[in-house]
């Protein structure tokens, strides 16, 4: 499972992506992923919002994560 980081999230994490191999312990849902990231990078908790997209669709906390999913961490958007 690959997790992509954009905008300020990329700056906080210090990387544009992170791969969870299947062997490694990896989060099973969007909610777990968020918890795990916030534990490791507390600055993420200070953002106005923190959304997650699974296979390029916004996904709520209960959505499960699978091995081949492309997951993205979406800090507050500011286009336009």
């Amino acid at each position: 499972m690959e997790v992509l980081f954009f905008g300020i999230a990329k700056d906080i994490v210090g990387a544009s992506h992170k791969v969870f191999s299947t062997n490694e312990h990896r989060p099973n849902s969007v909610g777990e992923l968020k918890q795990l990231l916030i534990q490791e990078y507390s600055e993420l908790a200070k953002l106005s919002s923190l959304a997650v997209a699974v296979n390029s669709e916004y996904a709520l906390d209960h959505v499960p994560l699978r091995d081949n999913d492309e997951v993205a961490v979406i800090p507050p958007v500011s286009g336009g």
Binding site: I8, A53, E57, Y58, A72, G79, G80
Partner: protein
């Protein structure tokens, strides 16, 4: 083609009317967002945009489809630029054509408002002495 949806390096304003024009359209409304020189009294040197392109295009398609459906539009344009943009450069262009003018005005406003809420694009303001990710913090 009914929808022109793109992430681009440069916004080309010269093609938008040809793309939105249609024999059934009496009205075409277009909004262009550009880089302002000042934000909250501070001089902006430029803006830098990045996007999650695959998802951004999907979200822009959804916005366009909603607008076409709601206002019975003939054509829709949604284009956003990425990379470094200087003061006065266009960064986004949205537009709609419809039989009468109320519909294209309302649709155009909806396109830009919704783009700003949902499309994964991020803007960093570059000042002389610092950079700020817009809207990141409360």
């Amino acid at each position: 083609m009914k929808k022109y949806i793109e992430i681009v390096d440069q916004i080309d304003t010269s093609t938008v009317y040809a793309q939105l024009s249609h024999p059934h359209s009496g009205g075409i409304c277009v909004f262009v967002g550009a880089v302002r020189e000042f934000t909250a009294q501070q001089e902006v040197v430029g803006l830098e945009f990045e996007t999650y392109e695959k998802m951004a295009l999907k979200e822009m398609e959804k916005i366009a489809d909603k607008a076409i459906d709601k206002w019975n539009l003939q054509k829709v344009v949604i284009k956003h630029a990425v990379g470094m943009k200087n003061v006065e450069e266009p960064v986004v262009i949205v537009g709609a054509s419809s039989a009468h003018r109320s519909e294209c005005f309302e649709a155009c406003r909806f396109l830009i408002d919704t783009l700003k809420e949902t499309v994964p694009i991020w803007k960093k303001e570059l000042f002389k002495d610092k950079t700020v990710w817009v809207s990141a913090h409360p």
